[in-house]
């Protein structure tokens, strides 16, 4: 049987790569200089039947068109915004992602960022390390996390996991979603502005699609308000970033905990000096345990495909 040719657009994870190498023929796109990548794909198109994508690089329309033998796109992520799903459906290309295994990590980070922002943990840590505790006295008062209303955009696996954790802190939960979810006690808002106006911490946990692009815009930020905190563990483009920076600069928004940005790894430097902002470099699922589990799921899906068995976590 012909060894599965797998296109890997960028380095993602050493364990994943070694497992792919062990089983398949791996084509590493980044080994070609950018101007020669189209040629590289053309040259190997006959062999490439799979693409492994992630949050940064997947399979857009051009890539799919350049790979006539493409059968499956296996994402090393749960987000599918870098895959042209419509094109895959048209071509009969299967798509898989890595749901569930990363839910906990991402939800943990959302709560961690919320507490870090409200209680100024990173600021306070810097305060200690700079010697200020000795010279200036105590750190200032911050604000309590427990009991604050959490508003969640998107009540999927990750949204529900955030809700479950926040409930343990006595936080009332409300959410905005394309449709109301039947089996929860959480308060549903059919309008995002209303959700933002009625919560203290707003967590972005929905997929990035055309509809949700810049869903957190100036109006939403203003509704969240000078005491409100935005936590983004979704995708950078969920938020109108220049508006976010302006709102923080002008005090119209109380604070932000951000794991994702519109143009990663570029982050607006104006945010760096703000004490009410915590910025982390897209580490949502970045633990050893979870990345290993994600890699196993990618391999598992590819193996199932090769063996003509039901895919483990298909999207298309």
């Amino acid at each position: 049987m012909e060894s599965l040719g797998v296109l890997l657009p960028i380095p993602m994870n050493a364990y994943l790569e070694s497992e792919l190498d062990r089983r398949y023929k791996v084509f590493r796109l980044w080994e070609s200089p950018p101007e020669r990548r189209q040629d590289f794909i053309r040259a190997n198109a006959a062999a490439i039947r799979a693409v492994v994508g992630n949050s940064k690089a997947g399979a857009d329309a051009d890539t799919i068109d350049a790979l006539p033998r493409l059968e499956i796109v296996a994402c090393f992520s749960v987000g599918l915004d870098k895959v042209d799903l419509a094109k895959c459906r048209e071509r009969g290309i299967r798509v898989t992602n890595t749901p569930d295994v990363l839910t906990d990590d991402v939800a943990d980070l959302a709560i961690g960022l919320a507490i870090a922002v409200l209680r100024r943990l990173c600021q306070a840590d810097r305060f200690v390390r700079s010697g200020a505790w000795l010279s200036k006295g105590g750190y200032k008062l911050t604000t309590r996390f427990s009991g604050k209303t959490i508003g969640i955009i998107g009540l999927g696996r990750i949204g529900l996991a955030v809700a479950k954790r926040a409930e343990a802190f006595g936080c009332p939960i409300s959410y905005y979603s394309r449709s109301e979810k039947p089996n929860t006690n959480y308060k549903y808002y059919s309008n995002l502005i209303d959700l933002a106006a009625n919560c203290h911490v707003l967590v972005v946990a929905c997929p990035l699609t055309e509809e949700t692009y810049h869903i957190v815009n100036r109006e939403v930020l203003d509704a969240l308000g000078p005491k409100g905190v935005l936590v983004n563990i979704g995708r950078g483009p969920h938020v109108d970033e220049p508006e976010l920076v302006a709102a923080l600069r002008e005090g119209r928004l109380g604070g932000a905990g951000l794991d994702v940005f519109e143009q990663e790894p570029d982050v607006p430097e104006e945010l760096f000096g703000m004490e009410n902002v915590v910025l982390v470099p897209h580490v949502g699922s970045g633990t050893n345990e979870t990345r290993n589990a994600m890699a196993d799921l990618v391999i598992g899906n590819l193996e199932a495909h090769v063996m003509n068995k039901p895919l483990l976590t298909p999207v298309v």
Partner: protein, 350 residues
């Protein structure tokens, strides 16, 4: 005939109602006057709202207005007037202070940790002690969880990595360690310990604990020794009172048992932990990570910790939120007013 039986018809007469109101007014006025002349010593500059309210309601003495070398003089000079001390985690009411205040009736502790109050001396002297339980529970437990997640997921270090340009220059941050599902071991299952447990359960963390005695009403796994607890959990949270028995309870043995993947979170008191051993263990990799709110000699923090990315160091902020500080201050004021008015104390230790 003519017996005053306190029947309603008698009490409703204008003369008796006037008398009743006069007595009430006198009583309130008397209490207010009593409070104004009631001397309260504030041991440290804890909180501006508390200070302002104490000043407004009582006769306030500020210990820090005299230099430390003249502390005894200050106390002696004002001993006649001082009937209450309001203490904090930094400075409470030790034996020396209590002995210098013969008219001391009550010590009000701004906090739930009583290690800076000489409780035995207070008991001997018949001095009441009050503190601020419950209102501090949520904030302290929130901080414990926040420190655990921040330490394991390197939130502060990766924030620094992003801001110093490393994400652009060097690529993605390294992989860290998952928090959810890790076994959380709690030393001390009081109000704060239970609040930590409840939160950790929201993350699917199995809970175990060590305490002076097993708590019947919980289903958490009990270990009779802190060494066994450390050997069987991944995140160890210190949430017990500081006493002679618990000083340096987290020693080298316990730290080694917690191990290279273990995380220590201290929201108790600095002296709970043998700090030298902790620093060595973190440097040697014998302990995985730590989230610390308290230190043996605050505000001194071992500088050898500053260069480590696997520790979070915060300056004793466990209860330092606007909401909780005000609630603590209000509770102190309530207790003092109750004492002056001879009413039951809301939150006595004894």
């Amino acid at each position: 005939m003519g017996v005053m039986d306190g029947s309603d018809s008698d009490n409703r007469s204008p003369l008796n109602l006037g008398g009743y109101l006069a007595i009430q007014w006198t009583a309130v006025h008397w209490v207010e006057r009593a409070m104004e002349s009631f001397g309260v010593l504030l041991a440290a500059r804890i909180d501006p709202y508390l200070e302002a309210e104490l000043d407004r309601r009582f006769k306030l003495f500020r210990l820090w207005e005299s230099p430390p070398a003249q502390r005894r003089e200050f106390l002696r000079e004002n001993a006649e007037a001082i009937r209450a001390v309001v203490g904090s985690p930094a400075l409470g009411a030790d034996a020396e202070m209590i002995d210098l205040l013969p008219r001391l009736e009550i010590v009000a502790n701004f906090g739930v940790g009583l290690d800076k109050v000489d409780l035995r001396r207070c008991r001997d002297r018949g001095v009441r002690v009050v503190y601020t339980p419950d209102v501090v529970t949520d904030d302290t437990a929130d901080l414990a969880i926040g420190l655990a997640i921040a330490a394991m997921r390197r939130i502060c270090d990766s924030d620094r990595y992003l801001k110093d340009g490393s994400w652009k220059g060097k690529g993605d941050y390294k992989l860290t360690s998952k928090f959810s599902g890790k076994t959380v071991g709690i030393l001390g299952l009081g109000r704060i310990g239970q609040a930590v447990a409840k939160r950790a359960e929201g993350f699917g963390c199995p809970i175990c604990y060590c305490s002076r005695s097993e708590k019947r009403h919980t289903s958490y796994k009990y270990y009779p020794s802190v060494l066994e607890l450390a050997a069987n959990c991944q995140v160890l949270v210190v949430a017990c009172p500081l006493t002679e028995e618990t000083r340096h309870i987290i020693n080298r043995e316990v730290i080694d048992a917690l191990g290279p993947k273990g995380v220590l979170v201290n929201v108790g008191r600095g002296p709970h932990v043998d700090e030298c051993e902790l620093v060595s263990a973190l440097h040697d990799g014998r302990l995985g990570a730590a989230g610390l709110d308290v230190f043996e000699h605050e505000p001194h923090v071992p500088e050898r910790l500053f260069g480590l990315d696997n520790v979070i160091l915060v300056p004793h902020i466990g209860t330092d939120t606007l909401e909780t500080s005000k609630a603590m201050a209000d509770l102190i004021l309530e207790n003092l007013e109750a004492h002056v008015s001879n009413r039951p104390l809301p939150t006595p230790v004894f």
